[in-house]
């Protein structure tokens, strides 16, 4: 493997960050509330722009300090009223680390710029870009495109995962029309009602509760999850080629692999965003082999092909 440059310092102990974007009224705050009240078993820090819009159940709040609310389910929530960099620094210094961070972008913001900040060298090893999730208000998208065309396109462009929200408010034909007009090759799109996105899509890389939110999500199909295991060392170049060309049915991949030099690496894929980082000492171990979980929607055939390609990356003869 070629030199890894500055990224070599990134450890998987870094906290994954999800940025939630989308035009005004797309359902970002609803999704944030969904996370804050969710039974995901994760300690999640949530940063929001409009603190007043977040509907935190007072009974859930265990403490509040300096504008940061701690919730009974492990979440903390704070307003994004200071600079983003400083707010992130402050959260990172709070006692007890988080499993995940969620940042709600303003409705008129480019979520990619927020994720760019998360990827700055100053956060290397502490924060890890996980995914940009962009919500689209199916009922109001055309209006948003008219009001701010460049912005809506920029937000879509930033998305690793696009959530077509309010799917219950529009006829199926409108969803199809949206896909036909806006979905580009490789774009991962799911439909949702009330911004209920399965936690597995939001928080890959963590042991989430078994998709407890599923019953409300995605009226048409259920997520598929397939696990690939191998005890043979993995050829990284070959693996990268597979990960960069996953079939559209695969929305996420996550896990650990061991390469031919015996190093263990953490793998994250969201849409077209691929992250591979060495596992530092002290990080959780998964034993000697490799394990990848593929999550998405589709027929078995979509996944079988990928599993076969993964097998080819881990041939004992390599």
């Amino acid at each position: 493997m070629a030199g890894r440059g500055a990224q070599a310092v990134v450890r998987p102990s870094a906290i994954p960050v999800t940025v939630i974007g989308g035009f005004l009224g797309a359902g970002k705050t609803t999704l944030v509330n969904h996370v804050l009240q969710g039974d995901h078993g994760l300690k999640i820090a949530v940063l929001v722009n409009d603190f007043g819009a977040v509907n935190i159940d007072a009974a859930l709040i265990t403490s509040s300090e300096g504008g940061v609310y701690s919730l009974a389910n492990g979440c903390v929530c704070c307003g994004l009223n200071q600079g983003l960099v400083e707010q992130l620094e402050e959260l990172l210094e709070r006692p007890g680390s988080f499993d995940h961070m969620v940042i709600e972008a303003s409705g008129v913001a480019d979520p990619a710029r927020i994720m760019d900040t998360v990827r700055y060298a100053r956060f290397a090893g502490r924060l890890q870009a996980d995914a940009v999730v962009v919500l689209v208000d199916l009922a109001g998208f055309d209006q948003a495109m008219t009001a701010a065309p460049g912005l809506a396109e920029t937000q879509l462009d930033a998305a690793d995962l696009v959530v077509l929200n309010k799917a219950d408010l529009v006829p199926l034909s409108q969803i199809e029309a949206w896909r036909k007009r806006w979905q580009w090759p490789g774009m991962r799109v799911i439909t949702a009602v009330d911004a209920r996105v399965p936690f597995d899509f939001l928080f890959a890389g963590q042991q989430t509760g078994a998709d407890r939110a599923h019953d409300h999500a995605h009226a048409h199909e259920q997520p598929v999850s397939r696990t690939w295991r191998s005890s043979a060392p993995v050829d990284l170049e070959a693996l990268a080629a597979v990960l960069k060309s996953l079939p559209p049915a695969v929305y996420r991949a996550k896990g650990f692999v061991r390469d031919s030099q015996g190093r263990q690496l953490a793998v994250q894929v969201v849409g077209t965003r691929v992250t591979v980082v060495p596992v530092g000492p002290g990080a959780s171990s998964v034993g000697d082999g490799s394990i990848l979980v593929l999550i998405g929607f589709g027929a078995d055939a979509d996944f079988d092909g990928t599993l076969a390609r993964l097998d080819a990356c881990a041939s004992p003869s390599r």
Binding site: M1, A2, G3, R4, G5, A6, Q7, A8, Q82, G83, V85, E86, E89, E90, E93, D110, A112, R113, D116, R119, Y120, A121, R122, A124, G150, E153, T154, L156, D157, W184, P185, G186, M187, L236, E237, L239, A240, L243, V274, T275, V276
Partner: protein
């Protein structure tokens, strides 16, 4: 010599000759006993406490030779004297803008870089534009410009980056900015020229997008990372810089500026200024400060310039006897270097400095020995404190010339440092055009916290402690218009009434004029030769459309029009007469 409206008539041959004025005149060359120029019937504020007001001035050889009432200059009037009747208008010394960057704002206008000119260019349109530009500019080594949008690449099932750009243009380096200027896409040759490899570390304010497995750069550079590419590109060409400076100077003359410091220059910038100087278009006295760091643009041959080549550019209107550096950051990213930590930070984060104090102390002493002024960007109180310490250290070491160094911006000063400006002979420079109350300023500056903000921009404190305060417009950070600065110094309020509230302590109109004239001259080592209208001093006079002492300052001073600007007796700006033989006629150009 003037018409019934007091306007200058054209064709005065002697005025044309005055453009050659800053060519040297041997001291023993015979002079006319009479004035070249006389201003009469004015309401002239001299800035000289000994005689604050007069109605007439006589000028010979660029200097004031007589002043007072009409009768006091009668002896100097001869047949060849150009007599201008001010018709009762207000006149005063010309203004000093002691920190600005017209090149940074204007050079892109003249650079003729690639501009694709399509709102959402598709990849094939980007390709066509790059190829067309390359064909049209066969001599340009780099293809540089804007813009692409990632969105259209994804829509087409393509990935922007070096792989795609190499298919378009493999044999000339290409760098394209995206619409938001947050990302630069470059080809492999551009990365090669910049020496960027997988081993290149990310800068602190951006990153290289990399292949997740190999770490190889993909050709997308985010935020601060594209400075690595800029550093490898050829410097901005001299003709582009010359056109930029010409616009800036033309504007400044039209707004009554007679002297300015152009902060951050390189060899090409000095050549551009030199070209204007020899063409008779340098109508503002310029002190150009050579960039000490490469953070704005790379300065090739910096050390040659500093050790002596700067003298090549020297004239009556131009010098490069200064350096500029960034000592700390700014308020927005909370990188100002503060004595106590930033509000709201649990970390004790107090900002940072960009040079070690030891580096600074050695540099200051070394520059001081060469007679080079050091201009230090200091927004936080700890930055200016450290800078003043370094000046004190330089004053203790042998060989120093006691140069008047300059603490730029002085956003937050520690109370105990106010007296040190006078004791150490350091200029305290402020940027009032960027801090009148506005939604932007209130939001941006709130990071300092209420206590610090209450003592921000302490011009009054420096003056009361006997120090010298000056202003810099700092364009393009804030507009190049010095009259906004003058009003803001006096009112501390929003000139357009868009926002209530004030920051800090105002000073009087008289004090503010002193800050923007006499103090500027002091900070350029010219107070004995310029900065007020006294006999023997340079005739740097501006004639206004209003009397600054007779109007309500708020909402009015910033809108002042400058009818005439003279520098060393040369008419360089005439607002009202398009036929005038002034170097520039008419209103100030709109630059932003």
């Amino acid at each position: 010599m003037v018409d019934a409206d007091g306007r200058l008539l054209t064709g005065a041959r002697e005025v044309c000759e005055m453009r050659e004025l800053y060519e040297h005149r041997p001291s023993h060359r015979p002079r006319s006993a009479y004035a070249d120029l006389a201003l009469v019937n004015g309401r002239i504020y001299t800035g000289d406490p000994g005689l604050p007001w007069c109605s007439a001035l006589a000028v010979a050889g660029g200097r004031i030779v007589a002043r007072g009432e009409r009768g006091d200059i009668a002896h100097a009037l001869g047949a060849g004297t150009r007599l201008i009747d001010l018709g009762g208008r207000f006149a005063m010394p010309g203004l000093y803008d002691m920190h600005t960057h017209p090149d940074l704002a204007l050079a892109p206008r003249y650079a003729d870089d690639l501009d694709i000119g399509i709102v959402d260019p598709r990849p094939d349109e980007v390709r066509d534009a790059v190829l067309a530009y390359a064909a049209k500019h066969p001599d340009r080594e780099w293809i540089y410009g804007q813009y692409f949008v990632r969105y259209t690449f994804r829509q087409a099932g393509l990935v922007p980056g070096k792989a795609w750009l190499d298919t378009v243009m493999p044999d000339r380096p290409v760098a394209l900015l995206d619409r938001m200027w947050g990302t630069m896409m470059v080809n492999s040759l551009a990365l090669e020229r910049a020496g960027i490899t997988a081993a290149t570390p990310d800068p602190t304010n951006g990153y290289l997008e990399r292949d997740p497995v190999t770490g190889e750069p993909t050709g997308l550079l985010i935020d601060g990372a594209y400075a690595l590419i800029h550093a490898a590109m050829p410097p901005t060409p001299v003709p582009v810089l010359r056109a930029a400076y010409r616009d800036g100077i033309r504007y400044q003359s039209a707004r009554g500026v007679v002297a300015s410091k152009y902060v951050h220059v390189c060899e090409n910038r000095l050549q551009a200024l030199h070209a204007l100087d020899t063409a008779g278009e340098l109508t503002v006295r310029i002190e150009a400060a050579i960039s000490w760091q490469d953070d704005i643009f790379p300065v090739r041959r910096r050390w040659e310039l500093l050790t002596g080549e700067r003298h090549y550019y020297r004239s009556a209107r131009l010098n490069a006897n200064a350096v500029k550096f960034h000592f700390d950051g700014t308020v927005e990213p909370r990188s100002s270097y503060l004595i106590t930590p930033w509000d709201g930070a649990n970390s004790g984060w107090a900002g940072k400095i960009n040079l070690t104090p030891e580096h600074l102390a050695d540099m200051l002493w070394d520059m001081d020995r060469q007679g080079i002024r050091v201009i230090a960007h200091c927004t936080g109180d700890a930055a200016s404190d450290t800078f003043l310490d370094a000046v004190a250290e330089a004053r203790r070491r042998p060989g120093g010339l006691g140069v008047r160094h300059q603490c730029a911006h002085c956003t937050i000063l520690h109370g105990s440092n106010l007296r040190r400006f006078r004791e150490l002979g350091v200029t305290a420079e402020f940027s009032p055009v960027s801090w009148y109350p506005s939604r932007f300023v209130s939001g941006a500056r709130s990071g300092y916290g209420p206590e610090r903000l209450s003592r921000a921009y302490n011009v009054k404190g420096v003056l009361e402690a006997g120090g010298v305060a000056v202003i810099g417009t700092d364009w393009p950070v804030s507009p190049l218009d010095p009259w906004i600065a003058l009003e803001t110094l006096v009112t501390r309020a929003n000139p357009w009434g868009e926002m209530e509230g004030r920051f800090g302590e105002p000073i009087s109109v008289e004090q503010a004029i002193g800050v923007m004239t006499r103090n500027g001259a002091w900070s350029m080592d010219m107070e004995h030769r310029a900065g007020s209208l006294e006999i023997g001093k340079s005739a740097d006079v501006i004639v206004l459309d209003r009397d600054l002492f007779a109007i309500e300052p708020q909402g009015n001073i910033h809108a002042t029009r400058v009818d005439l600007t003279f520098i060393a007796g040369e008419l360089v700006h005439d607002r009202l007469n398009a036929e005038s033989d002034a170097v520039w006629q008419g209103e100030a150009p709109k630059l932003w």
